[in-house]
Amino acid sequence: MALEKHINILDYTLQSLLRRKFKNIGIIMVFTLVIFTVSSIIFLSYSLRQEAHLLLKNSPEIVVQKMRAGRHELISTWLMTEIRGIPGVSDVEPRYWGYYYDSGVKANYTILGIGASGLENNKVVSGRMPSPHEKNVAAIGRGIADVRVIKKDLGSILYLQAADNKWMNFNIVGIFESDSGIMTADLIVISKEDFKALVSMPDDTATDLAVHVSNEAEIPTVARKIKEQFPDSRPILRDEIIRTYDAVFGWRSGLIITLFMGALIAFIILAWDKATGLSAEEKQEIGILKAIGWETSDVLEMKFWEGLVISLTSFMCGIILAYIHIFFMGASLLAPALKGWSVIYPEFRLAPFIDFYQIAILMSLTVVPYIASTIIPSWKASITDPDIVMRG
């Protein structure tokens, strides 16, 4: 069988790798670490990005905010009628939301006032949602329910300090369970009337407006028309929202890679060192092999195997460890930098989306150059006449 020759050469390659056991194990470990880190980042940021895409494509097509002197301000609700008149707009709804800092827990909550009902049969919501005009009831995220100093659950009372220094109490009638945590962990949903009372929001205003456009292709046109009619408004497109998340995870990945630069550079130096010269010992070994009858192609094949064994082993181990790290161990090593931190942190299981394209690029940027850097310097040694081994 014609394969036997190649397997024999592979046998010898493995034998000579084992001869320099510590050096080669060291290389494999550094190499594995590089692959592990980079692919961990790829797995984690791709997974987060995919989740953002999947979830946020349900966001309003356009959010219209009002600006005064370049700063965000409450928007008048009479704008709604005008915007409804723009062709392509199917509906406009006001949004009432803001933040509430709880000094006891030292955490920010997001407070949302709703003016319409919904989510009656939602399986992620335990209990029910406040109805639009109901007073002193709230639905809260599981994150808040768990983090409050005194554990809250359905039926407990939540106290919030209103803008006029009075305390308002809310009966917890619903909880967003942790499956939805990535969108709801810090939410407190109350009725629109309660919200306005809590923050003393004037009548006929809203935080901003959600504009629905049924034809995707018309979204930018509608946004442009809104901007033309109301120069003090700022339409935010859903695509911009998604793009922001791409960018957020992008710069966070970049941050980690920067932190990781030291190891990366060490690895590049290692590969460079290999690529730029053979040790005298390696040169002599090549000379001996040629002198006793190996062809140039046999020597190069041996070097190919050497590069392949080291880089493939490292690549596979690195990828497997990265997968386990990200999707079984919750990205414990990277989470602080990539996922962000906070007092109320949703406990979420990452969805194992795998970006084969990026993995393939990673492979072609590591395995291929490594093999090349083992073969190329041997090239010169293996095409020169082997008579050097006759001397000295």
Binding site: I9, G293, P386, M390
Partner: protein
């Protein structure tokens, strides 16, 4: 069997450190010869040996091995001739450290489509013939000098070559081991192989079975003696 015609070899031609190592050498070694290249250090013996053994090419002149002009062969064919015709025994043995005696002996024939079990069988047979049966899986760096040389001989024999080339084979051996080496070579000659040894050791070239002595000095042939 081996012929050189006006072979000249320069090293570093055109540079200030140019050396004329072999100068206009024409010799002939016949099949079954026990030939010795004799001469002081630096006289060009090793260089001539490597030219004959297809390890390097002459600057001018021709080298003919088994009726083939090898001096202008492309690299691949030179390797082929080298592998199929010659067995080399180097002055420093040049065994690969860290692997066993048997693996060293099998090395020349690894890049062939023969199963390793078969290769091992022939390696073991050769080693046994050389009295190395107790050292087959021994790491080479732990061998004595004589054993290392016998491993090197076994490695030279694994291709079943027609011609054995040895460079200063007795330089690192005492008299007893040198005699032993020579008797092995004599044995091989009697089996029909051609032996070529480069040496300045009288113990070698004074042997009565040496059939051809080529004495060299400063890269030139000084005297050819046929017994």
């Amino acid at each position: 069997m081996i012929k050189t015609e006006n072979v000249t070899k320069y090293f570093n031609r055109g540079n200030p450190d140019e050396v004329l190592a072999v100068n206009d050498v024409s010799i002939e070694v016949k099949e079954g010869d026990f030939a010795v290249f004799k001469g002081p250090s630096g006289s060009g013996k090793t260089t001539l040996l490597s030219l004959i053994g297809c390890m390097s090419r002459p600057t001018s002149g021709r080298v003919i091995v088994e009726d083939r002009d090898v001096s202008r062969l492309p690299e691949r064919f030179m390797t082929e001739v080298r592998r199929n015709t010659f067995g080399f025994i180097f002055q420093q043995f040049h065994l690969i450290k860290g692997i066993s005696v048997c693996d060293n002996v099998m090395l020349p024939v690894l890049p062939t489509d023969i199963k390793p079990s078969k290769l091992r069988k022939s390696a073991v047979r050769i080693l046994e013939n050389l009295g190395m049966s107790g050292r087959i899986d021994f790491p080479v760096q732990k061998l004595s000098g004589g054993e290392q040389q016998r491993t090197a001989i076994a490695r030279a024999l694994i291709n079943n070559p027609d011609i054995i080339l040895a460079d200063e084979p007795t330089a690192h051996l005492d008299t007893h081991l040198s005699e032993e080496f020579l008797s092995i070579m004599r044995n091989l000659q009697q089996q029909g192989k051609t032996i070529v040894i480069a040496t300045h050791d009288p113990l070698v070239y004074d042997k009565d079975y040496v059939s051809l002595i080529i004495e060299m000095r400063d890269g030139r042939v000084r005297e050819i003696i046929r017994n």
